[in-house]
């Protein structure tokens, strides 16, 4: 029996980068095959070529033994290749049914389509109302649309691009059930991820990419997470270095009964959140995306002001009424999740980006005029101290890679020596080397006496980094627990409160 999919010598070049360099591997029918690698390792480029979004510069793709050229996604679907994207290609204003109809290459009367959707859903245990507008659905439900859309085409190969980054541990398990069922029926699955324990739990084979090159093809069940991680990263893993015998000090940041009002159509507001972060403490907030994390960050940073001055206080000094500039002057700095257009302006130079948040704390403004020399000096220091790969302070933020821009942003805030730092998704889309550096800098800042809040969807990150953990769900925050005392299952239940807030709270007594 020929391989379902076989790649030989696939090469793809972009200006200045070799995204894929002579990559070869094969997928058998019914096999769940992991494509493993860091951000920027070339996984996405590779699957885009399989799905026909891009064309390889060199190499051969064979499908059931026949050499093929996939001109576009439509041709891919015709062959029987389905794909579920990491960033969903959904249309918020349209209904589930309309969204699925758009993914169909042939015109199917909507009544017949609906019947087929219901059939697929019952076969695989996926629940969805076809007439709901996508904008009203949770992230997990949105992913189900993508999966149903792919399954309707009866695929022979299903590509899943980082499917679990937005799911709770329980939802991940449900997804794995669906995928195993599919594989049992002979559908091959190409599963892209950098989460090693998932790959060990699900996949039959793993192909590891690093810097666009194939490093190894192995059986993940025969490997340890650490051995795969080292292949993926290419060097020995660095652990976070903590000062021994550290103890937490006095309360620094006190948040009491903080709430926000609903602004955007579907933005989840913060609902009566209270917590305390002590000197030297790293306080983690876990949760599935879209549960009020953005509103919480904005309400802490000052982008959303409270009408209660005591809602946010540092060392007992009330900051609730102040805007971001006012709060920064009192030592509260923040880093939002979205880098481009929120934490930094892509079109501006790094130097100008430093003016954005550091102008007051570092004396870059005199009598309404900007001291660009001071901004340049400070930016140079950030670049040097945080090993930011940039030509210099005059580089535009947009010219930096995601990881380097994140290092710059973190450096820009940390070097202001804030007494409180609030960060959202500090290592999202950042390679392991940069992530380790960012984690270390947060630990060091805490050791120097700052209070730190880390909002993240990555449980592994939070468990490695934090002293204390709480979970945000539908804008409400669970009680804080020392990180050593909570299990993944408990956190998972709290995160999953989406569909039953009360039970989750009851399940884990605070």
């Amino acid at each position: 029996m020929p391989h379902r999919l076989e790649l030989t010598g696939i090469t793809k070049r972009f200006p200045g980068v070799l995204a894929n360099d002579n990559v070869s591997f094969a997928v058998r029918p019914g096999e769940i095959h992991a494509l493993l690698g860091e951000n920027g390792a070339g996984k996405s480029t590779l699957v885009k070529m399989i799905y026909g979004i891009m064309q390889p510069d060199a190499g051969e793709i064979r499908w059931n033994g026949q050499p093929i050229s996939v001109a576009n996604p439509k041709a891919a679907r015709k062959l029987g290749i389905g794909m579920v994207f990491q960033h969903f290609s959904l249309f918020e204003a349209l209904t589930v049914l309309e969204n699925i109809a758009l993914g169909m290459d042939s015109k199917i009367p909507s009544r017949e389509l609906e019947a087929r959707i219901r059939q697929v859903m019952s076969t695989y245990g996926l629940l969805l109302d076809p007439h709901r507008t996508v904008a009203t659905l949770s992230v997990g439900e949105r992913q189900r649309i993508e999966i149903v859309r792919a399954l309707l085409l009866d695929p022979k190969l299903l590509i899943m691009d980082e499917p679990t980054s937005v799911l709770t541990p329980q939802e991940v398990e449900q997804l794995f059930e669906v995928l195993r069922k599919l594989a049992a029926q002979g559908c091959s699955i190409l599963y892209i991820s950098h989460k090693l324990h998932e790959i060990k739990a699900l996949c039959d084979t793993a192909t590891i990419l690093r810097g666009g090159k194939l490093v190894d093809t192995c059986d993940p069940r025969q490997e340890t997470s650490r051995s795969m991680a080292e292949k993926m990263i290419g060097a020995g893993l660095k652990d976070i270095v903590r000062a021994a015998g550290r103890s937490l000090g006095e309360p620094k940041l006190v948040v009491s009964r903080l709430s926000t009002v609903k602004t955007g159509h579907f933005e989840v507001p913060v609902d009566d959140v209270s917590f305390t972060v002590r000197v030297g403490e790293i306080f983690g907030i876990a949760g599935v995306a879209g549960n009020g994390q953005n509103a919480l960050l904005d309400a802490l940073s000052g982008e959303i002001r409270s009408d209660d001055k005591n809602a946010v206080a540092i060392d007992g000094y009330p900051l609730g009424l102040l805007d971001t500039t006012g709060r920064r002057k009192h030592g509260l700095c923040a880093v939002p999740e979205e880098r481009n257009g929120h934490a930094a302006v892509s079109d501006f130079t790094l130097s100008d980006n430093s003016i954005l948040t550091a102008r007051d704390r570092l004396g870059m403004v005199m009598l309404g005029l900007i001291n660009s020399g001071a901004a340049k000096t400070y930016t140079g220091k950030v670049i040097a101290d945080f090993a930011v790969k940039a030509l210099g302070p005059a580089s535009t933020a947009g010219s930096l890679s995601g990881g380097n821009l994140q290092k710059y942003i973190m450096g820009r805030e940390i070097l202001q020596k804030p007494s409180v730092l609030v960060v959202s998704q500090p290592t999202w889309g950042v390679d392991a080397g940069a992530a380790a550096a960012i984690h270390q800098s947060l630990v060091d800042l805490a050791a120097a006496g700052s209070a730190i809040v880390v909002i993240s969807q990555d449980l592994d990150e939070l468990r490695a980094l934090c002293d204390t953990l709480a979970v945000i769900n539908m804008g409400r925050l669970s009680a804080a627990r020392p990180v050593s005392e909570v299990s993944v299952e408990e956190i998972g239940l709290l995160m999953g409160g989406v569909h039953g807030t009360a039970e989750a709270h009851d399940a884990v007594p605070a």
């Binding site: 996604p73 290609s89 249309f91 918020e92 109809a101 159509h265």
Partner: protein, 307 residues
């Protein structure tokens, strides 16, 4: 009775070009493109229609010439914004400046040379009674505009092509990743919008004033753009909006003609009224809760796929 009917017929004449242009712009905006050059395309359509009527005397050819000229003009916009990702707002303004200059240049030889107005579509026997005139007394573009309200509603709501067009306007990157040609859909929409604006422009010399006058569309293209916002991107609301403006403009005409109580107010205020009414209407619509929720999410944003 007769005066009411006469007023109504004037109203229809004033509303029709705005409605046709606005319907075109609605489709363009539903595809996620903001073409502010409607006024310019209308002027190019107006001079093309005028010239065709002048030389051939066939008003249908004149409308066709208007459509063709409007579509051709829109392709300048399409090329700049879709192929070269130029700023849509600036390009739309440039298109209006261009259309104004081009129509003035091309129209110069035709000044003070009247053409024949377009005749009603139905034979005069059908419209002898005043009441029948209300139904059968108009020329073809009026019926065309009504047909297009329905046709565009049906297209957007009921057809697969309409669904794809809405999808492109809603999330261009997703549409692209599924495999739809975002640029192709948008080019088609922009061209359709241009053709409709061209027809709307040709209506001015064919239906309203059979003389060439520079800038004869007098900002109606801009009002059409505003109406699309007012109508929350819904064709039947556009119909209502266009007739509301037709009413305001009809009052202006009667006031200028010096008829009765309307002439107490200075004629300049009447002339300014359609523009002021546009502002009022935009303000009123923005007070509605769902005002902007119906706007296509990608409206006016350049399409920049990463690959």
């Amino acid at each position: 009775m007769d005066i009411t009917i006469a007023i109504f017929i004037t109203l229809v004449g004033a509303a029709t070009p705005i409605l046709i242009a606005a319907l075109g712009e609605l489709v363009v905006e539903k595809a996620g493109v903001l073409n502010l050059g409607v006024e310019g395309m209308m002027l190019v359509g107006a001079i093309a229609g005028f010239a065709a009527q002048f030389y051939t005397g066939n008003p249908y050819l004149a409308l066709l010439a208007g459509a063709f000229a409007g579509a051709a003009t829109s392709m300048i916009f399409g090329f700049l914004t879709l192929s070269l990702s130029a700023n849509q707002t600036a390009t739309g303004l440039a298109l209006t400046i261009f259309g104004t200059g081009f129509s003035a240049l091309a129209g110069a030889p035709f000044s003070a040379r009247p053409i024949e107005l377009m005749r009603p579509l139905f034979p005069a026997e059908l419209a002898t009674h005043p009441m029948w005139r209300v139904l059968f007394g108009y020329s073809a573009p009026v019926y065309f505009s009504f047909f297009m309200v329905f046709a565009i509603w049906y297209f957007l709501k009921k057809t697969r092509a309409g669904l794809i067009l809405r999808a492109v306007g809603e999330n261009d990157l997703s549409a692209h990743s599924i495999g739809y040609s975002v640029k192709g859909v948008r080019y088609a929409a922009v061209m359709f919008g241009g053709a409709m604006a061209g027809i709307a422009g040709a209506c001015f010399p064919l239906l309203l004033t059979p003389q060439w006058a520079e800038r004869m569309t007098a900002g109606r293209g801009w009002i059409a753009v505003a109406l699309v916002v007012f109508a929350s991107w819904k064709p039947f609301r556009l119909l209502a909006g266009a007739y509301l403006f037709g009413l305001v403009m009809t009052m202006e005409l009667y006031a200028k003609a010096g008829g009765g109580p309307l002439s107490i107010i200075p004629s300049e205020l009447w002339a300014a009224l359609p523009y002021l009414a546009t502002i009022v209407v935009l303000v009123l619509i923005s007070l509605r809760r769902d005002a902007s929720t119906n706007a296509p999410a990608c409206l006016g944003k350049p399409f920049l796929p990463s690959n």
